[in-house]
Amino acid sequence: MTEDSGWDIIIEPKSKIFDLKIRELIRYKDLLFLFVRRDLVAQYKQTILGPLWYFIQPVLTTLTYTLIFGNIAGLSTDGLPKMLFYMAGVTCWRYFADSLIKTSDTFTKNAQIFGKVYFPRAIVPMSVTITNLVTFGIQLLLFFGFYGYYKTFQNFQGGIQLEVVFFPVLVIIMMFLGLGVGLMLSALTTKYRDLKFLVTFGVQLLMYSTPVIYPLSSIPEKYKIFILANPMTGIIETFRFMFLGTGELNYGYLGYSALFSFSLFVVGLIVFNRTEKNFMDTV
């Protein structure tokens, strides 16, 4: 249409389905990092223990798992020290679960600010994912601490593999996965609040279909396909392989996770962008 020429902004009831608004997101990249900074500063101001909370949570979880699943239930840990095995799983899983849970209520939680000013809404869940990355990094340090302890004092034989150079790729896959699911859920929870209850509950259930408390190798062949359908399986197995030397490095599984994560992210962003336009009327 020639009539449209010269207009920079056209606001219409429906936008194009495949408009990912990537250019707009790039223009607002400064906002992304300012949000990350804000969340980090705000999170632990005026708490006494401050960032120590980052450590307490995974340590307690790992201890509980070691006691219940390792010692009482006697589940296999692929021959690894129980603490290290569970901590690896817990660290990865927590990052994914936190990203998902914290982004899934983006619209309801930010209704105040979204109601007053426009910026690409996807910036908010993205910033949450990046903020969580910092938490993940700190918990990773804790993991290395335990790793060092087992290596020096407990004569732990396994160790970091050469493939660890691809660790950043693994993190990116994980980011996209958490963000993708979170984007999709946040679009749905605006309209159907019931889903919110399902999310926390569902994430917990999902953990049991992920090799967090058991190794993939302990799964009977006929059930393996169900566990492998979970994209987090490939990620956690690869993580254990990279840092502890057990588990399975299967590029097929990993490729599946990557493809799954990325497609989910794209679909999530589309659904999210469609919702952002009119969510103010339903929230």
Binding site: I11, L31, F35, V117
Partner: protein
């Protein structure tokens, strides 16, 4: 040809669902989807009523905005006025992309910056400086842009001393100042402003209005301004849109628009009086209206009955300002030979061919008393009216209540006086 149009709105409508959203959401969604599948129109778009708050409707859907068309040229300042619920905020929300329209479209040139409420995204734990960056970024500025304007922003806000203190220690006035300062330096091609000027002290309001004038006049940018402050609308805007129940009720000159808006306000409550049947305001040639320009003459007509039982009485009016202070008064005692003729029903007309009231809202109280001084009845709040600012001096200075209670028609002259030896 259309090169100077900065923003164009065509057939813009917005439908809202009333009541508790949630019940029946899925069934409505399914209905919509089914209609779409058969290539039919959304069944819920056909229904819906005009948005009259006070009337009980039958439908769950209302049109908060219906078929709004207008365009604003570059450098123009469009004032949007209307009573609460007329659709002003909805219009601004659609323009600023906070929510989408139901039908119609908007086309604009350049960036649209919206100042719907200042201080959006201010975080109490961050310092003033950090908040400037965060708030600026939320409004669409890049870090570089903010950095280059940081000194100006801080200076404009007048919060220099507190800039490295967390915002939670700020007074509400300071937060607003800082937030407005950020927004003032946003520099979009199209600026949308809503009621920001209602906050802050008088000095800061002046500063804010000055900045907005610079934005439109000096820098040639387009401004859409929504306010209840008629004085601000008149002094800032070059064009005006009056919304009523979500529909375009007037589009054109500012003084005419303000008058149109003020004359269409909700009718006053019933008069509670034993003797006064009716009070009305008319223009000098007898047309009923309740808003007048500065200096425009008017008549007050009071219909009374049952006063024939009293001997020697006077009927008068007090004109009260918004603070319920007497501004002036007039009565039959001040006009020769106008005291009651002792008919059962009488019409008393006070005629003021010219008046010097400052632009503001006024209330008329009626007083009926004996000539000797005793009071028979006092009717407070009998009628209200507005005086609208106009450029009577031809100098572009619009008066408001800050200037006093009355205006003078005067002349100012400046001549040089040589130093006396």
């Amino acid at each position: 040809m259309k090169s100077d149009v900065a923003i164009k709105v065509e057939g813009l409508s917005k439908q809202y669902r009333l009541g508790v959203v949630g019940t029946g959401t899925i069934s409505h969604d399914l209905n919509r989807w089914w209609a779409q599948l058969r290539g039919k129109e959304d069944p819920y778009l056909k229904i819906g009523e005009t948005n009259d708050r006070s009337q009980k409707g039958t439908s769950d859907y209302v049109w908060s905005l219906k078929d709004i068309d207008f365009e604003v040229k570059q450098g123009e300042v469009l004032g949007v006025i209307g009573k609460n619920g007329a659709g002003k905020s909805t219009l601004l929300k659609i323009l600023s992309k906070v929510t989408g329209p139901t039908t119609g479209r908007i086309m604009a040139k350049g960036r649209i910056g919206a100042l719907l409420e200042v201080g959006t995204g201010f975080h109490p734990e961050l310092t003033g400086r950090e908040n400037v960056f965060l708030n600026g970024a939320i409004l669409g500025m890049t870090k570089m842009e903010i950095k280059s304007k940081l000194d100006e922003i801080i200076d404009f806000s007048g919060c220099e001393r507190y800039i490295d203190t967390p915002a939670k220690r700020y007074s509400s006035g300071m937060t607003v100042r800082l937030a407005f300062a950020v927004a003032a330096f946003l520099e979009p091609e199209i600026l949308i402003v809503d009621e920001v000027l209602a906050v802050g002290d008088a000095e800061f309001q002046k500063k804010a209005i000055g900045k907005m004038q610079d934005v439109s006049k000096g820098e040639g940018r387009t401004v859409l301004f929504v306010s209840h402050n008629m004085g601000a609308v008149e002094s800032l805007c070059t064009k005006c849109l009056v919304l009523k129940n979500g529909q375009n009720s007037f589009l054109g000159d500012v003084p005419e628009g303000v008058k149109h808006y003020l004359s269409n306000k909700e009718s006053k409550k019933d008069l509670v009086s034993r003797y006064v049947e009716k009070i009305s305001l008319t223009s000098l040639n007898g047309v009923a209206q309740d808003a007048f320009f500065m200096g425009e003459g008017f008549n007050i007509e009071i219909l009374v009955h049952g006063l024939d039982v009293f001997q020697g009485i006077h009927v008068g009016v007090f004109i009260m300002d918004t603070l319920n202070q007497k501004v002036t008064s007039f009565s039959t005692a001040m006009s020769k030979g106008s005291s009651s003729k002792h008919f059962e029903r009488e019409l008393i007309t006070f005629s003021f061919p010219n008046q010097n009231l400052i632009p503001s809202s006024y209330v008329i109280d009626i007083s009926i008393s004996y000539k000797s001084g005793g009071r028979i009845e006092y009717v407070a709040d009998a009628l209200s009216f507005d005086i609208i600012a106009s450029d009577i001096y031809g100098t572009g200075s619009y008066l408001n209540t800050h200037f006093g209670k009355f205006f003078l028609n005067g002349l100012a002259k400046v001549i040089e006086v040589p130093q006396e030896v």
